[in-house]
Subunit: 242 residues, 2 copies
Amino acid sequence: MVIDCGDCPLRKLEGFQKVKPDELAFLKRFKVGELSVDKGAPILMEGANSPQLYTVLRGMGLRYKLLPNGRRQVVNFVLPGDFLGLQAGVMGEMKHSVEATTRMVLCVFDRSELWTLYKHHPEQAFDLTWLASIHEHFLGEALTSVGQMSAEQRICWGLLRFHERCNDAGLADGETCPLPYTQQDLADALGLSLVHTNKTLTKLRNRQILAWRDGYLRFLDREKAETSAMLERDTSRPRPLI
Amino acid sequence: MVIDCGDCPLRKLEGFQKVKPDELAFLKRFKVGELSVDKGAPILMEGANSPQLYTVLRGMGLRYKLLPNGRRQVVNFVLPGDFLGLQAGVMGEMKHSVEATTRMVLCVFDRSELWTLYKHHPEQAFDLTWLASIHEHFLGEALTSVGQMSAEQRICWGLLRFHERCNDAGLADGETCPLPYTQQDLADALGLSLVHTNKTLTKLRNRQILAWRDGYLRFLDREKAETSAMLERDTSRPRPLI
DNA sequence: CGACGCGTTGAAACTCGTCAATTGGTGTGG
DNA sequence: CCACACCAATTGACGAGTTTCAACGCGTCG
């Protein structure tokens, strides 16, 4: 029933680092079970201090912050391989919420073992810092996108990055990948209104740059999309997987 | 000439964690010298793989990304106590540039010792993850600000956060703190045009909310500023200082 | 003295947000 | 089986916030 870390389907993918046998042994002990949640379910709440850490095995979700005025910022989309709860692990509480967009399956780790990890498994400790840095990098790029780019550029940027991450997670099929979110989710991620997001998507579709229908995204003219998004070259090496 | 880590003036401040004697001994070995740079000088460049890591001792700077179209996103302001170069340390290259806004003095650390830190000093390793998480948190908040707030709200948010950080660094005097940046710097940080930033600052000054003149920022009505910024309560505990 | 950087101000143009209404699909209860 | 509610996507109209363009003042520096 519960997947053995040694057989983890994610680790077989190219985008993730290989792991040494003794490190694997620790991960097996670190993992205390699996959690399956329904579409729409909350996973972590802002301000809470979760006793558990998670790695996404299957499904998609999103991280977001709610403002007192009711507005919402989607901080990023959550895909298989993502590690959840590290902020609470080191800072004492979550700074954003996480909820499931589709049904999800999560590996559950015991947070009280986190210190053991730092004490006896420096490789994994390094990996955790790496993961935090990757997030920092992504958020810096998102900030740049929202701060400096037009609606069309932001949408191209956001969807290209998403497709790239789907690819890493083994979910993309050529230029096509699943995109189970609503236009409102995308709008909240890019700092745009729903209406303007919809109209800009229509333009991109009419200009044969991309299509998004029935939960699937497809790039028809990746060249144009990338030019619009001003993407920095991707120098990512295999990511750690905890 | 060179400050001994044991006498570090920053560590005496309340906002930073105390450190155990054996940890201090390692920091002393880790520190290889001090670097003094002039106003306007580049410190780290995007894409570069710096062999050194820095902690700011004195002075201020800014982190930024440049876009192909010439626009600039200021990712954040750099104050004493900030650690620079961690991204290059774990990910292999910097994802943004850092430059000095005033004259600055930096502690220099040897990056090749980073692995020693993870291997033999788990407390410090944990602290590095913590620092990365703090950045992640800050960038998430900045993204939310730029994505969801009006010009006035963003400016209040940015300047309040800056004042708070000055306070932690022992640079604030009541409601006043130094602010050696240009309006263009602030505009680029908040995703606003220079002109609109200027006009909004004028409004805030006329409404007696804040004043920014001659390199110093002063809050006249903090209450109103905080309401405008929708600041989340600050739950920060003493930060690690490397 | 002139060049330059920074702050300031006015006017015009435009992107984008808000309001409002419609469509189509899905699920639920009578 | 149909009525109804509900949600996501869509479209039009209008207005507000923001950007862009342009010009000027002021202090500093060579």
